[in-house]
Every structure is written in structure tokens, then in C-alpha cells.
Symmetry: C2
């Protein structure tokens, strides 16, 4: 038997990077160990996660309006519902490889069917749904400092706090702590934001299970939602959010519906060898 290999493409969305594995017929499912191996940054290729590209029908997913299912896995092999940066990269890959050609595509994810629009400037816009904002008082502790914060579910949990300076929160080597803790029974992602100008913030993010990352799609949305709320804005708004890995935009309409807009890039194609 010849050594087991898989064909892959590596891509990223504002520095959140993925190994894309084409598997149209769903015949090449990846074990948790497979995902860990290929995502290992020293012993494998290295990435934050894997995006397996499967036809919805072949994956056995009930999402009749869709042709493609994004099977997203975290680098530790665990299954995740959705990933805003990953979905842009996924759809960019579909275009680049000729698998889709329309400007609007519905994509099946474990977090439901998502609408992705290719914009004329090459960016992608993802309809993220409506966030749930809690009015319960919340405090976040980090690096010996305490901040008032707002909890947002979109749908995963975020605690968003304004800071004076993005450096004052230290190196984010360990997770910030939310008080009261029972607001987030399954943990949370933490966003620290600073106002830069009109409808413009910069942010750093601590992702549950990953530590500080260059970018987090849902975290960017949560941050913009809190910034908008903080200024009592209503109607259609657009916020620019600078993250360590680049820049994204967040649109929100009068009903509160959120869309994330940002770039995607493919950087390499290759073949990975499981036994080496």
C-alpha cells in the first residue's frame, strides 16, 4: 500500500489560516488525529483549522438550498459550528477552483445555512444573523486590571470591553476572567477595543481554547455591535475594525442584522504525507 496523502490548499482571512481539503464526494473524512497532524505548525503544514470541502448531499447534511458544506475543524481536531474568517476563505476557494460562479452563494455549515456575497472589490460579505446583547452588568479582569464589559452572543459567547490603550492589557498569555462567571457557562471569547475615529475601532482578541489570535470573525462582529450600541446609533451602520491580522468591516441594519465583510487569500497548494 502506498503512503497515505492528501491534496490541500492553504489560505487565510486576515491572518486566520486554514488548510482546505477538497473532498467533493465525502469519501475522505479526516480523523481528529489527521487534523492535528496537518495543523501542527512544526511537525505538519500548520494552520488554525481545516476546511473540508464536501458536497452537501454527499455529507448527508439537510440544507436543500446549498450545494457545498463547509466541514470546519479546529486545529485540535474538534468540530466547530462556524468560523467567519474560514467561510470567506472557503468561498474564495470555491471561486478560484471553478466550483461556483454566482456572486451570491448559500453555504451549509454546522451553524446553519450562510449567505456569502462576493463584492466587486474582491472582498466577501457574510450574513451573520442577529446578535443577542445582555444588559446584565459584567466585569472582565486581565493583567491585574478590571473593565466593564458587555456580553454578546453571535451565536458564540463574547465579552467586549473598551480600553484606553491596547497595550495596557499585557500579552494576553492567559485567559481574562469574567465576573460573574456564570454569564458564560461554557467560557467566552474576550475582545478589547479602542475607538480610533468615526465608526472605527481597533481590537485585540483572546479566543477560547486558542489564546490571542490575529483575527476572529465573530469577535469582530461582537466588537462592532458594542461600539455601535455605545454611540446609540440606529439604522444602517458600517464600522471598520482593525485586528492584528488586517482590517474588516461590520454592517448592521435597522433590524440589528449583522454582516461581516473582509478579504480572503490562497497562498499555497500542496500534498501532505501522513506517514513520513
Amino acid at each position: 500500500m502506498s503512503p497515505r496523502t492528501i491534496t490541500f490548499t492553504k489560505g487565510h482571512g486576515t491572518g486566520n489560516d486554514f488548510i482546505i481539503v477538497p473532498d467533493e464526494l465525502g469519501t475522505n473524512d479526516l480523523s481528529s488525529t489527521d487534523v492535528q497532524k496537518i495543523c501542527d505548525r512544526h511537525f505538519g503544514v500548520g494552520a488554525d483549522g481545516v476546511l473540508r470541502v464536501v458536497k452537501t448531499a454527499a455529507a448527508g447534511i439537510d440544507a436543500p438550498q446549498t450545494t457545498w458544506f463547509m466541514d470546519y475543524r479546529n486545529s485540535d481536531g474538534s468540530i466547530a459550528e462556524m468560523c467567519g474568517n474560514g467561510l470567506r476563505v472557503f468561498v474564495h476557494y470555491l471561486y478560484k477552483t471553478g466550483r461556483v460562479s454566482e456572486n451570491i452563494n448559500l453555504i451549509a455549515t454546522r451553524g446553519g445555512t450562510k449567505k456569502v456575497t462576493k463584492l466587486s472589490d474582491g472582498n466577501y460579505r457574510i450574513d451573520m444573523g442577529k446578535p443577542q446583547i445582555s444588559i446584565q452588568p459584567l466585569e472582565v479582569s486581565v493583567s491585574g486590571r478590571k473593565y466593564l464589559a458587555t456580553s454578546v452572543h453571535i451565536p458564540n459567547p463574547h465579552a467586549v470591553a473598551f480600553v484606553e490603550d491596547l497595550n495596557e492589557i499585557g500579552d494576553l498569555a492567559i485567559s481574562p476572567v469574567a465576573n460573574p462567571e456564570n454569564v458564560f457557562p461554557e467560557g467566552a471569547n474576550f475582545e478589547f477595543i479602542r475607538k480610533i475615529g468615526t465608526n472605527h475601532i481597533s481590537m485585540r482578541v483572546f479566543e477560547r481554547g486558542s489564546g490571542e489570535t490575529l483575527s476572529c470573525g465573530t469577535g469582530v462582529c461582537a466588537a462592532a455591535v458594542v461600539a455601535r450600541l455605545n454611540e446609540n446609533q440606529s439604522g444602517d451602520t458600517t464600522w471598520r475594525v482593525d485586528v492584528r491580522g488586517g482590517t474588516l468591516s461590520v454592517e448592521q441594519d435597522a433590524d440589528g442584522e449583522v454582516a461581516l465583510i473582509g478579504p480572503a487569500a490562497l497562498v499555497a497548494d500542496g500534498e501532505f504525507y501522513f506517514e513520513n
Copy 2:
């Protein structure tokens, strides 16, 4: 003009990972920016460095006994003289791609011509030359603790200290400090070692310019040299050194000549796109 791409292979030696770029005729030199792009772990493929594979004659290197020159670059694009883990991966690549077939090969590096032997168990043995050990008293400070240390040049500078527990030195987020500082006018690599058993140590390493790494070939040699000296051994000795990324062996003969023995692996082949 079509987008610029390069063909690469990714490999590692005990977790020290490299992008290998074949360029036999020396017509595809890489700029510092090129190396940074491909080595970036989020926006590129990701690696500790690049190994460009060039014929010695084409590279204009004066090393008449050699056919191949290892052009090694650090991930920041800077030029480096030698890399013990990189050289094993380099020679493994030459075998796997049919560029060499003999068991012993002389390879040109910026640190001189190196003899590499392929062993029957698949490991590679590199003759590293004679270390220079200083008898000057030296102290290393790390995480609020101080240790007596020994300075070894092989030929790059190392400070090696015994510790009781490899965890007591903290997370090695910032460089340890040597006292007196003038022992290392150009900085040093720091090895912290613990005796495990007969001729067997484990170690952690802080590499100048890189921080803590999974493995460092010359650091492993320096550590074994100090461990051997500490036991007043002479004649032919073999030490086993466990690093975070795996296990290596260090042989030393009666004359003090050091050889590093360890594995090498190739994990992926691919094509990298500079513009994306």
C-alpha cells in the same frame, strides 16, 4: 506576466521546521522579503527557516569536494552559517529526490564543508567539529533564579546550565541573561539541562533571535559536551539528549570531536504563490 510561484517541500528535524526550495542552477535566489513571506506561519506556509538547494558550482562557493550547497536563511530573512537540524533535513531531501545516493556526503555550508552520514536506521550523523569550552566563571539569570553555567562555542555561542526541574525556569518568554555579559558580545543561546540517567539528559533551549524552540542542533551538542565534562568522561562517549521536539544523540571522541545524530522527515510538497 503570470504570478510568481516557487516549488517547495516542507520538512523538519525534531520539530525544527524548514521550507526546502530546489534551485540547482542558482537562478532563483530568494530575497529577504521572499523568505519572510513563505516562513510566516499565518500569512505564508510557515517554518523556522528556508533551505535553498543549490549546486556548489552554481552558487559560486569554493568547496571543491562538494556537489551541493545548503543556502540556509532564518525565518526573518537573515543569512545563517549552519544549522544542525536543517542539514539533516537537507540531506534527507537530497536522498528522497534522488540527488545523492552514497551513504557519506560532503555538503557545502556557509559554516564550511560538513560531512553527513546516512545511518542504517535512517538517522543522519553530522560531524560538527570541536567545541571550545571556556573555564571562565559564568552565571545565567532566568525567571528570578541564578545558575552557574558553562560557555561553549560550537562554533556559535551557548551558555549551558544544570537545573533541578525543567519547569522551574518558567516559560522562557524573554531571554535569560549571562553575567558577565561580555562573555557573549553577540548574544548567546541558552540551554537548561537535567540529568535523566546514565549518559542521558533532557533540555530546553532559548535560541538567540527566536525564543524557546522545540530543538536546536548546536545547542544539543553544547549540552552533551557540558554533561560529559561534568562527569569527567574521556574517550568515546554517546549522550542521549531529549528536547521538546524529540530525541537526538551526541557522540564525542577522545580528541573532543563532536557528532550529532538524529532523524529528519519530509511532510509536504507544494507550490507557494507570492502574490495572493
